[in-house]
Subunit: 696 residues, 2 copies
């Protein structure tokens, strides 16, 4: 009796106020309901299988009660949307935006407060956001908690990193959910500032695979005026609850009605390729706010950067600051000299790169890190050996664009108060792009990188930069959530563990680059800085054991598998000059695309992507694997039928191995058509890169 009564009650309550909305494909269904206490919940199914079990929704306010129970549904609204738009820069020329929408209007009877929940169901997954409409009972309010649950159906395999309010630069762990444990992690990983939120807190995007082979991803889109969502896991029930960085005094977010939260997203498919290819995060963001986007261009660049990471030179003038964790015997000198910059400009001009980044050009680096110092950089004072005018004039003459560097050392207060001066300085000398950096504990003190204030800052900089027609590439920012649709000058971000960690820490294991497209890259392009040819740091110092955890061929493949309209050729010019045949791929590969085909994908294992370069008939293919060697046969049916192409294949040489023999590569040139099939052979930690240039 007891069992059936409970079952009946749930059934009855669900019926009483249940709503549902399906994806256009009808494979995904989102359900919404209120339980008997008026607590809102939702659930998700995929092909009739549960993906998210009934999960509660709601908030705790500061001094204004809660918004998580006592609701009644006062109305619902449906919409069907099917349109498309053209990104300024992107993986494809046209993005389809197709979803079914359900808006549920709620009223909390005891207080009269109103809350709406909006569901959008795409073929890729479910998104929902909370909306606080303008209302008499709620104007200004402070959130203490958003308690959005994602009640998972089992002990899925998860690709997770710790929920850290200050950093996402972790190596991914691949374990069942039940084995998530931040306390068991080795934190000697090269990350400068860590603020792990809890023992079982993980970051989103959280990529998972169920035992039945469903690929499930929990993420968010359009994070604006709101902190970043992290996920608190109950490792026994597999229930995730949203958790957010507080501000300095423990508040989560300051809002005024009308207000919306970011979109909470649940992507699901039985084909891993669908996750990599998704466009729903972009679709959930607002269209470009920049009218004239003609100055926003893809960019391949080189720069004075890796030489500091490998300990060949320093950021600071006095020669003490490189990224090496070892003591070198050789004397180090400042990297950002006029002379050295000209060398990079010459190299960029000779090999057709668009830009040159120079880090360490400005005063402050002698004492820039680790002391929570407010006034480190002024962003306008070069070191005496860096002549800004001479350098920018020279670059202009050579047809190369200089990329500005603004490291803030986390002192956002200092950066914001100097922002206009910094950007005016850039315009004075013709810089059209800036790389920003946020290494260190945030100032205003007490704030986290992932808090509401910092999210606002990270969104504010591209907005302000747009007024100067400057493109922004942010490092150590909160991770993007599709905001580059709205501010397309925000061309790339770091916000994950980049290639640099291979230079001076335990590095990025071979699986790393096969996971990022299922996690970090869902939110936007990453400035991963691939293209390291001198794989082993012993090249610079025989006592060093650090190395890049890939083969050279895989470094090439990353230009295709890691989408970004901003791509660095990160290694030193002299290293590229030693391997001119392999370097040719980096010179040839595009950074902006009309078409993208995800050919093969399995998170943590492998990824193969082909892309068609913007405005051309040229295709480029990248295939990568994890620590395991891999063979596969791919059909070239993405090529235009009837055309013949010259395919230049850059692949791992015989016996190549990321650890034992990483620079071993071979280049084959063959002719192919859309009917051809190719056998790919990837070494452990290896990859293949191919360019397809039409012959007719």
């Amino acid at each position: 009796m007891k069992f059936s009564f409970t079952a009946l009650l749930i059934f009855f309550l669900s019926i009483a106020s249940a709503q549902s909305v399906k994806s256009p494909s009808e494979e995904i269904v989102a359900y919404f309901g209120l339980n008997k206490e008026g607590k809102p919940y939702y659930s998700v199914t995929y092909k009739n299988q549960p993906v998210i079990k009934e999960s509660y929704l709601g908030f705790v306010l500061k001094n204004q009660g809660t918004l998580n129970s006592g609701f009644t549904v006062t109305g619902t609204k449906s919409a069907v949307v099917n349109d498309s738009w053209r990104p300024v820069l992107g993986e494809v020329a046209v993005i389809d935006n197709k979803y079914n929408e359900l808006s549920v209007s709620l009223r909390q009877e005891s207080t009269g407060k109103l809350l709406n929940i909006i569901f959008r169901v795409f073929n890729e997954g479910v998104a929902f956001r909370y909306e606080f409409p303008k209302q008499d009972k709620l104007n200004y309010f402070i959130l203490k908690e958003e308690n959005t649950q994602f009640n998972l159906t089992g002990d899925h395999k998860a690709f997770w990193i710790p929920g850290d309010f200050d950093s996402q630069e972790y190596v991914y762990n691949e374990t069942p959910l039940s084995k998530v444990d931040n306390e068991a992690l080795d934190l000697d990983n090269g990350i400068a500032v860590k603020s792990i939120a809890g023992r079982y807190t993980v970051q989103s995007p959280l990529m998972m695979k169920s035992k039945k082979g469903l690929y499930i991803n929990i993420f968010e889109a359009a994070v604006k005026n709101y902190p970043v969502m992290h996920l608190d896991l109950n490792p026994e029930t597999f229930e995730l609850t949203s958790v957010f960085a507080p501000n300095a005094i423990g508040d989560m977010a300051y809002l005024q009605t009308p207000a919306v939260t970011p979109w909470r997203t649940i992507m699901v498919s039985d084909d891993a390729r669908d996750i990599v290819a998704q466009k729903m995060i972009l679709n959930l963001n607002e269209p470009s706010k920049i009218e004239d986007t003609s100055w926003i261009k893809p960019m391949k660049y080189v720069g004075i950067w890796w030489e500091m990471h490998v300990g060949e030179s320093t950021w600071d003038y006095s020669g003490t600051q490189d990224a090496s964790q070892k003591k070198f015997t050789k004397k180090k000198t400042h990297g950002a000299t006029t002379e050295n910059t000209k060398r990079y400009i010459d190299f960029a001009a000779k090999h057709g790169f668009d830009g040159v980044l120079v880090e360490g050009w400005n005063t402050g680096w002698e004492d820039w890190f680790g002391n929570w110092k407010e006034e480190v950089f002024d962003f306008t004072t070069p070191y005496p050996d860096f002549d800004v005018k001479e350098v920018t004039d020279y670059a202009k003459k050579k047809g190369v664009k200089m990329i500005m560097h603004h490291e803030t050392s986390g002192s956002v207060a200092n950066y914001e108060r100097r922002l206009d001066r910094a950007y005016n300085f850039m315009k004075q000398y013709g810089y059209g792009a800036v790389k920003t950096g946020y290494v260190g504990k945030i100032i205003p003190r007490g704030e986290f990188h992932d808090g509401q204030s910092m999210v606002n800052h990270f969104n504010y900089v591209p907005q302000r930069a747009a007024e100067y027609k400057v493109m922004v590439n942010s490092h150590e920012s909160s991770r993007p959530t599709g905001i580059q649709r709205t501010w397309p000058n925000y061309i790339a971000a770091e916000a994950a563990r980049g290639n640099e960690f291979n230079g001076w820490s335990n590095g990025n294991p071979p699986a790393h680059e096969t996971i990022l497209p299922f996690t970090r890259l869902l939110g936007g392009p990453m400035d991963y800085t691939p293209g390291i040819f001198e794989i082993k740091m012993s090249h610079y110092d025989p006592t060093k054991t650090e190395q890049v955890h890939t083969t050279l061929a895989k470094q090439l493949a990353l230009y295709v598998t890691m989408y970004s309209p901003l791509q660095m050729a990160a290694d030193l010019p002299e290293n590229y000059e030693k391997y001119p045949d392999a370097f040719q791929f980096i010179k040839d590969v595009a950074a902006d695309w009309d078409e993208t085909e995800v050919l093969e994908a399995e998170p943590g294992d492998y990824l193969t992507i082909a892309r068609k370069a913007k405005g051309t008939e040229n295709w480029f293919l990248g295939a990568i694997t994890d620590e395991n060697a891999r063979k596969s046969t791919i059909s070239l049916d993405f090529l235009t039928p009837g055309k013949e192409y010259e395919a230049v294949i850059y692949q791992d040489g015989k016996g190549a191995d990321w650890k034992k023999d990483p620079i071993n590569y071979e280049i084959k040139i063959i002719k192919v058509t859309a009917k051809s099939k190719l056998n790919l052979k990837l070494a452990p930690g290896g990859g293949t890169a191919i360019s397809f240039i039409p012959l007719n």
Copy 2:
């Protein structure tokens, strides 16, 4: 036996490491010593009477121990200084800087940390500061506490306001120290944001009078990169201990060696006039950092301001925001219209005022206060009925300078990130001065007006403004401590309870203006906004009972007794036009001076000052009293011997009384010389203003 042993021990210890330094007059002596635990202490005598009994000195650091005991003296250094300098704007043409200095170098034996204490003894009092020299054992450090004690000798009468980290806009309390009690205060006083630090915490400057008739004042000078000092009183022992606003996470100050604290000051005299006339606070600040100061000018101004305070118009365009606490029946309209501004410009031009302030000219006022809102004003967008170009062109044609207004509503984050745009906007339209405002809880949230970050902001704005040749008048800032010597474009501040409170709150009692010169004004000029002729608010609405707590004549006298190079004629043009004879004094009075004579002074009771206008032979005199009528005879021996002057005397009329008959004044014109004596007759809450213009 026991008593004499203790006495002997103290004597011995004092001798062991005691140092002393005298004022040039030899009347004031500061003593320094270490007790047997190596705790540093000091004491002060005046004419051989104890003023400060032995009082400990020291710090608590965050995670780096304490700096308050275990010291030995490693060296001492003496200096005798006697020089002078010329302020850009001031009460006198030349300021003498004369003091004896003692520097004591200390070493904490257990840690090796170094700390210096520097004493400077002027004829006006003792100053000392802590110096953290550059050293191996201390580089970056965080202060949790500075525990500087001021161990008073008895239950002095004190003029005190609560130690509030967000406001100094209190009415002064005049009680013995033993009766200080913030919990007994009526806090319905019109102050918007209050953060009282503790039950017995009071603000500095703390003015006191001992039972033996010594005037003692505890204050500080040169507050830079350091929070404002408040004073925690032990109401039983009369021991004061310094206390400071923490930042959002509870830290007091972030410093790096070499660093210094502000100067802690103890002024003492048996003549109250010496306190009012002191120059040691300025002398303890650094010389001007502005080379070309030719653009820094005294300024008398009118403006669209008081009309909002009395409820005749509003700051906001939609007509809802005035400062009235009553409901009016008449419809209110926006004050800052082009037309109204032109009226003020005409008035200023006609009567010889330098500037016109316009508040409420920019968008944001509809919802500017009380919601801890970050983005309220952008400082560059006028309301549609305020044509900036038309107004500034018109002012230029009329030879009048426009004064910009930047209310931040406490959102310093927003102001700093827009600062350059705001100042560029000003330069575009020719504004050379700005009034800033900080009404509201500070953003970054968790910071206080008196914390280190905000002190830095308040010092940063004049520094940045100087680059635009803009003068700054800050309201609701931390109170000045002589920083206008270093940044002479920081011409005035509010930072105390101004005249405006008389318009819409319980107001400022008649004694108020006799106390400010012993407290707030010691740190720098105040934009008190005197000159209210329509004393009673019932003038505007018969239901109102608020009023200015002075007679009209006292409003005139304030232009002399309240030193400021920036002086507002705060009342409405139409009110001045009703009393043109009295208005003449405001038109005549200077705002910058070559000489100043404090003729009579008693805090809380009365004050009479004569000043000689810069570069002229004109003298102006102001005499004010508290709620008591007052008669006195003053000698005019400050006038140049042999010259004859026409003295225009603006005095309270017969039967005048601040409450019963405040507008009752009379004007007498007589001829006087340096040999003349004048009988002053001040009504309850009254005053006398006199101009002396040489006839030969």
